[in-house]
Amino acid sequence: MRSKHWYDYLWIWSIIYFSLGFFNILFAWLGMIDFLLPIIIAVFRGNKWFCNNMCGRGQLLSKLGGALKFLGNKQAPRWMASKWFRYGFLGFFLTMFSNMVFQTYLVAAEARSLTEAIKLFWTFKVPWGWTYTAGTVPDWIAQFSFGFYSLMLTSMLIGLIVMVLYKPRTWCTFCPMGTMTQSICKLRSKSNQNNN
């Protein structure tokens, strides 16, 4: 078994991130690190080092799932790791992300007002106003925070649901970031082979 490193404890970061969102929604911006870093590593280093070693969410699901072994260790249905589902979910996720960015733009352009609520599973609106004092920052910054935290919390909840139902890191089979970075790595690998 390999030895422990500092990055093996990043599951603590995941807990801190989601906890901070209950106190001040502006901390949601920190989640951009989890969005950008895997892509930067995949593009410039050509590997999935982030997913393999640094993903706090993956580590947390692995730890929680391991602790809840009595739930069983059922294999997820085959379609969940299939290409069409993975790329379909990635497409859906990116569409929702784009919509969230568009809503932020509308607030910035003063075409709509700030909504101090989060949306779970892209459907259920949950009042979240206590985490933000109006006027602290420009409205669009707050709007992005609410939207981004909604996305992060929703994907975490999906991860927890599939963790309970199947193997701990089942979320990783269709995680949009994982699918995206694997595609980048495969493309890089292919172009390197063609060049050699």
Partner: protein
């Protein structure tokens, strides 16, 4: 005849999450270039921990027979 168990990865279904690399007691599995997991047969002892951990269900433990 020698028999040896070892892990085999269905690379077309592997999502390269790296969970297998964390559970392998022999560091016999890695995810080179972020594409898919690859097993070092020399190091693999066929314990099946990677197969049990794999969320995509793409690792199986095979038995090979080698002549001496």
């Amino acid at each position: 005849m020698l028999a040896k168990k070892y892990a085999v990865v269905d690379q077309s279904r592997c999502v390269a999450c790296g969970e297998c690399t964390h559970v392998c007691p022999k560091e016999a599995i890695s995810v080179p270039h972020g594409c898919f997991a690859a097993v070092n047969i020399e190091k693999c002892i066929g314990c099946g921990k990677c197969a049990r951990a794999c969320p995509a269900g793409c690792i199986k433990v095979n038995l090979i027979r080698q002549g001496i």
